[in-house]
Symmetry: C3
Amino acid sequence: MLDDLPLLDAHCHAVTTADLDADGFARWCTEASTPAPPGVSYLDGPAGLAVRRWCAPALDLPAHAPAPDYLARRAELGAPSATRRLLRAANLGELLVDTGLPGDLTGPALAAAAGARYAEVVRLETVAERVLAAGVPAADFAPAFADALTAAAREAAAVKSILAYRHGLDIDPERPSRREVTAAAGTWLRAGARRLTDPVLLRHLLWTAVDLGRPIQLHTGFGDRDLALPRSDPSLLQRWYAMIEPTRVPIVLLHCYPYHRQAGWLAHVYPNVYIDVGLTLTHTGPRAAAILAEYFELAPFAKILYSSDAYGLAELYLVGAAQFRWALSTLLNDWWLSRADAERLARAVAADNARRVYRR
Amino acid sequence: MLDDLPLLDAHCHAVTTADLDADGFARWCTEASTPAPPGVSYLDGPAGLAVRRWCAPALDLPAHAPAPDYLARRAELGAPSATRRLLRAANLGELLVDTGLPGDLTGPALAAAAGARYAEVVRLETVAERVLAAGVPAADFAPAFADALTAAAREAAAVKSILAYRHGLDIDPERPSRREVTAAAGTWLRAGARRLTDPVLLRHLLWTAVDLGRPIQLHTGFGDRDLALPRSDPSLLQRWYAMIEPTRVPIVLLHCYPYHRQAGWLAHVYPNVYIDVGLTLTHTGPRAAAILAEYFELAPFAKILYSSDAYGLAELYLVGAAQFRWALSTLLNDWWLSRADAERLARAVAADNARRVYRR
Amino acid sequence: MLDDLPLLDAHCHAVTTADLDADGFARWCTEASTPAPPGVSYLDGPAGLAVRRWCAPALDLPAHAPAPDYLARRAELGAPSATRRLLRAANLGELLVDTGLPGDLTGPALAAAAGARYAEVVRLETVAERVLAAGVPAADFAPAFADALTAAAREAAAVKSILAYRHGLDIDPERPSRREVTAAAGTWLRAGARRLTDPVLLRHLLWTAVDLGRPIQLHTGFGDRDLALPRSDPSLLQRWYAMIEPTRVPIVLLHCYPYHRQAGWLAHVYPNVYIDVGLTLTHTGPRAAAILAEYFELAPFAKILYSSDAYGLAELYLVGAAQFRWALSTLLNDWWLSRADAERLARAVAADNARRVYRR
């Protein structure tokens, strides 16, 4: 049943259509940002296994074909053709694309290649850095950012915060005053900094996003090494979820692992908090079914969302989708559920919950 | 074998016998304290599944009957009659009831309805707030609280602390001096506060409980949103467990999830620390068997206790008991154990450990 | 296949060959350091089950023989003979022995008894305490420690840090200046302290080990109660792994539980970080297979190492090895993997990864 159900991939990124050698391909399959040491291959791990299992058949190879055979076949087809096959095999109904990361194929063209509908996710920090780089006076930063965000997000399904990368979620959640924002913007502008890391400005971005009213996707849990893992635990922002609850703006906690149990509790007790399994299932190979089940321990079923968080390789769109379908089928088979309950739960998590939250 | 074994439910609360509509019923099935947003139902999650699986047969419906059918049948029987059926179906040998929360049916009457023996659990903060509200001078608070606790706990099996709700477990564990307690009581009385949150007074309560010598139940891990989850990790109080070890007063860590692995280690290395699976199994539906097994990773088997932490609905008494029996059976079937070992382990966790710890 | 594969046990300790009564035996089977309370036995838990399952057959008893039968048979054989049988049954190819803990049988003689090759692991804190106890002037501590470590580690496969026990991993990871080291050594010497706990000196030890260039084993996660569990999370040292990455010195995170998912991410994103399953599998009995799988969620397969962390009882060498073989077989059966992939993965984790990291 899940195979025929188009997924709403609620958080994903651009793909590259360049030809890739083995090293280049492997680097896209990991959150590591530096070369592997001698004797270690980034393909010889959970994500590599998942690519070989799920993607080889889409390129006419048997599942588990060795990596060199897979790469040879990919090159034979050409990256653009392989990309199209892989995206189509994922059976996606709609993509919400975070356009804050570069790539050859993104936005509506990426969705078209996947045969899916499209909406944008706007990254708060990217908009703010653009406003600051344009030379706004410090005193005008707050209204200029609000205007820029409103314009950027006019058609967007959601906005996204990478506070976990820029500071950590252990931040004072109070709304900063206009005076504080101006002072922080002044300091930042005088320092000539590019990458926005000031905590006052970062929480101003979040509060401005709340004013905008779109769902806010929040990076939580693992990612690349630019974040401090203990400071990415989504329960560190508990006070903020409570503060903004009256606005009814949905907060979607992305990834969450290894703090996904904490995230499930947040979704249980805060009406405005949702959780998203993206990135986690892609990188955990044969463990994805066991891990997905842990997202379902406390969260109401209408609070759990699918995304792939795919970036760079079209393979990661298919891996995300196939891992999710396999993991959710495993869960539904293992659980005591009536058939009617199982079907409703599958439809909810595959797309219905996202449609409701993102108003698609 | 487990079905026939009466459980000692070592931590539970009053139930309501009022007739409930669907919303009212759903609100009792969650730790959320505010209404669910549109599209979300608190019954459509792990706890709701568990109620439908385990409780429907006790009301003559097939397992997994839809929620509206269940509620209709419950209304048809009348809440008092349904309550009695559900409590009896749980097969409980004894209840230790925390009488600090209100309800229609509590104390000995609740135990009688369940066909079980009874003992009380006395909430430290409730006693202290009563003493303070009665207008005790600050300088007399320490002896007045000690007297009031001794009186309140004369027949009690245990006392209970909700430090996690009132401050967090990240507290200085040293015993405060009499002078410090008097000063803190004075400040508190002058502020006219009702809800005791002063950390000096809270730890004075704990140390007074140690003097009393009864087992101390400690809320740890998840609960409702009034607590800060990262500050409910029971390993934050490690120094205190060591300090009080010479007194041999048992400390029972309630709930623990998602820090139950940390709790298991505490039970492993501190002779005076025990762990209790209450609340967790009730709220995690089909995941309860997998989670229960995690409590058994490091703790000596004689250190693991059962409770339901049921509150409000008689259903939660039955869900707690049924989930525990199902989860423990699953564990005993999955593990490599001799039959004799399995039976001993089941009897220990179902009641024998609690009988020893609480001297029942 | 795994039964025939000799393991490289990359972190282990001395064993006792004294005759042991039931209490003495039980005390070696736990990380608890004080007697169990009435009604609790340290053998009646996961580790005790594992000893009875895996070790009884090596002494000609059926698996799961009751503990008294096991101890009687052990006494009948005599501890030295039982020790030899147990070590041989573990099928070990090489032992890397941390010689910083005392025992009757250690070093080359221990390896010979196991029929295994041998190399040493040198404990940093032990070397430093020896240098300080020898009366070095504070200003000479840094060069004297460097010389002593170089001499002690001439033939060693690795060095080891117990920073988690002496301070916690929440330490400033910057290299201290020579002036700071001298001042800290002076303070330490004037205080006449024996057990090195000064954070400046502790991180100086780590940085001196980096200069030496041998792999560094780092205690992380659980152990006995001398450590503060929340401060043993290996992700607390993230900045240090990044700082020393250019040196290419391997850091092996030992144990890790219950932070092994955090550790797997560290191994995923830092080329110089590895994870080791020692101690965890020994103490978690029938849960070891489920837990081992969690180490494989994010780490590249070439980054995962075996050790037993056995200490005291030869039983723990066999339990560690048998639990690992059983748990890894379970994983390989449960996963979707080609047979060729499964065999390669088994060889890698059983010994090949350790051979490469420790240059054996």
